[in-house]
């Protein structure tokens, strides 16, 4: 174990290198670019033994990963915003073909107007592709989650692709200390991929052939079962990681000062880290408030949210907007509670397009609710209002 200081993106490249994928296919896009640069440097320095494919687009990057993964290879790619959107068709393909691809998505707003800054709308828009989705709040969590993602994706009962997302610039370009285990320790943890089925020239089969209507629902159902299995496996994997390496960021949810809380703030990604400072300040003032940082969006941790709502009313902070409705996490939290809880759920949208959200902003949002001044769903600190 050693500690290095580096940006979220170079830490991603490090994790990808240490996971020893057989194939990396990627195309650069701001703010993901330095991941691709980092991996290219490992290739150049002879520290990466897999195939590194420079493709001409993100659609091709995902297609190359699909082909390689179908042949039994471990694969990695990374993208952001418009790159992720260009992959959209192939994201469905990867999931329906049950290929355990691991991808980093550096959350960035979608244009126009042209924005390169943090916003979850790119990955939230991939909600229904069948991918598992994690959101990270620190560079250590980025490293740990990428490695853990392979254990999860390649588990025989999961066999689905995993997307690891984190805020553009806020994490991708910020240097923080990260503990890096030794290569042999990573090898022992991550295990070897054992494909349940694969393309093999000596045993030729076809994949993805026509499927009749009577059979199609069962392949969807199998994906649902796999995602539900992941809800059980994620806590096991994070716990095993904690025992081996000492770092831990929660299982499906990271709870912070939730004991005796009357209100629990639900936040995601970097806003989840900043929220801890807001909770500390509010606790200092004697307010009974805690934080539940959701680490996983798919599978959605329904039961964990129901448990939170038994203790407290919830305040949901979204760095995304499903235009025409509301923030995606706000909707999902309420859907999870329907029929099993009477807890009140309050919501805010904040930080779209990288707009800075400070702990003081988050404190103000919570206080507004706790002081009975919340009037309805709110876009926090909108220009011109």
């Amino acid at each position: 174990m050693r500690v290095i200081i580096d940006t979220g993106n170079y830490i991603s490249a490090k994790a990808a290198q240490m996971a020893k994928p057989d194939v990396v296919a990627a195309y650069p896009i701001t703010p993901q670019t330095t991941i691709v640069e980092g991996i290219a440097k490992y290739v150049e320095d002879g520290e990466f033994s897999g195939e590194y494919i420079c493709v001409e687009s993100e659609h091709s990057a995902m297609s190359a990963c699909i082909g390689a993964s179908a042949a039994g290879a471990r694969t990695f790619t990374a993208t952001s915003a418009h790159g992720l959107l260009l992959m959209h068709e192939m994201l469905h393909w990867a999931a329906l073909a049950r290929l355990p691809i691991v991808m980093v998505n550096v959350n960035r707003a979608i244009g126009p107007g042209w924005s390169i800054w943090a916003d979850e709308n790119d990955s939230v828009a991939q909600r229904d592709t069948g991918w598992l989705q994690f959101y990270c709040s620190s560079n250590q969590e980025i490293f740990d989650t990428i490695i853990q993602a392979y254990r999860l994706a390649e588990h025989k009962d999961v066999q689905l692709p995993v997307m690891v997302s984190y805020d553009g610039f806020i994490l991708s370009h910020t240097s923080m200390p990260v503990q890096i285990p030794e290569q042999n320790e990573i090898d022992d943890f991550i295990l070897k991929r054992v494909p349940q089925w694969k393309l093999d020239v000596d045993n030729p089969v076809t994949h993805g052939n026509i499927i009749m209507p009577k059979d199609y629902p069962s392949i969807r159902r199998a994906m649902q079962d796999a995602q539900e299995k992941a809800l059980e496996l994620i806590p096991e994997i994070t716990e095993e990681w904690r025992k081996r390496f000492g770092t831990y960021h929660g299982d499906l949810v990271e709870c912070y000062r939730c004991d005796d809380a009357e209100f629990i703030l639900i936040a995601v990604g970097a806003l989840g880290a900043e929220s801890k400072v807001a909770i500390d300040e509010l606790r200092e003032k004697g307010r009974r408030v805690g934080l539940a940082r959701l680490r996983v969006f798919r599978p959605f941790p329904k039961q964990a949210v129901v448990e939170l709502a038994k203790k407290a009313d919830l305040i949901v902070l979204d760095r995304n907007i499903s235009v025409g409705m509301e923030g995606a996490f706000f909707s999902e939290v309420k859907a999870a509670l329907y029929g099993s809880s009477d807890a009140k759920v309050y919501g805010y949208i904040a930080g779209l397009g990288g707009k800075d959200v400070t702990y003081k902003d988050i404190e103000a949002m919570c206080e507004k609710v706790m002081d009975g001044k919340y009037k309805g769903y709110e876009w926090y600190d909108l220009e011109g209002e």
Binding site: V3, I5, I116, W117, S137, D167, F169, I170, L171, H173, T174, S175, M176, P177, A270, L271, A273, E274, K276, V277, D280, E281, E284, G354, D356, V357, T358, Y359
Partner: protein, 192 residues
């Protein structure tokens, strides 16, 4: 106390290409060696252009840092290029009792704000030239000026700065960079 209690926030002002981001990274690497468990370094988020005013930031704390927002109220401001001060309000938001380190030939008392904040000055450009720290003929001031930081911020030691600077480069270049930090440390004038 709150988790922000032991926190020191630092803002670097320079011009694109002067290495403000590298300076921030080296500073927090040194701070980590000095036992500060939480450190962060980041650029201003966006596109940078060579020669244009740029900022970089660092945070140093006894504990893991959960802040992910920008730095609005720095404890320490570091100015790599004095000419920036005509176009950027480098003292914007500085905390009471804060300090500013300026690359200049002037002494601290020549700055009008030397009564409000602690001013430290060092001719990092001269030190860079004397140690032949030049890229494309332009003096590289980001490592020399780091040597001035321990004069206003006890959380980071010159020894650690020299270690990380020595490891960043190799051979003669590493030696010249390390020497420059020591000269800057010695030549820094700290105002009242």
């Amino acid at each position: 106390m709150t988790s922000t209690s032991s926190l020191v926030e630092i803002c670097f002002h320079g011009r694109g290409g002067q290495g403000a981001v590298t300076a921030a990274n080296l500073l927090v690497a040194a701070a980590l060696r000095d036992g500060n468990k939480g450190v962060q370094a980041f650029p201003f988020f966006g596109a940078e252009r060579r020669g244009a005013p740029v900022r970089a930031f660092a945070r140093i704390s006894d504990e893991e840092i959960n802040l992910r927002s920008e730095v609005y109220n720095p404890d320490v401001v570091i100015v790599l290029d004095e000419s920036i001060m005509g176009i950027v309000d480098v003292l914007s938001g500085i905390k009471d009792g804060g300090a500013i380190v300026i690359n200049t030939r002037k002494s601290p008392d020549r700055f009008s704000f030397s009564k409000q904040v602690k001013v430290a000055t060092v001719d990092a450009t001269d030190i860079a030239i004397k140690n032949n720290l030049l890229v494309g003929g332009i003096p590289v001031v980001n490592t020399p000026i780091l040597g001035a930081v321990p004069r206003v911020l006890s959380r980071v030691t010159l020894d650690s700065i020299q270690e990380v600077v020595g490891e960043k480069w190799r051979g003669d270049l590493a030696e010249r960079n390390v020497k420059a930090t020591k000269e800057a440390y010695e030549r820094t004038e700290v105002g009242e």
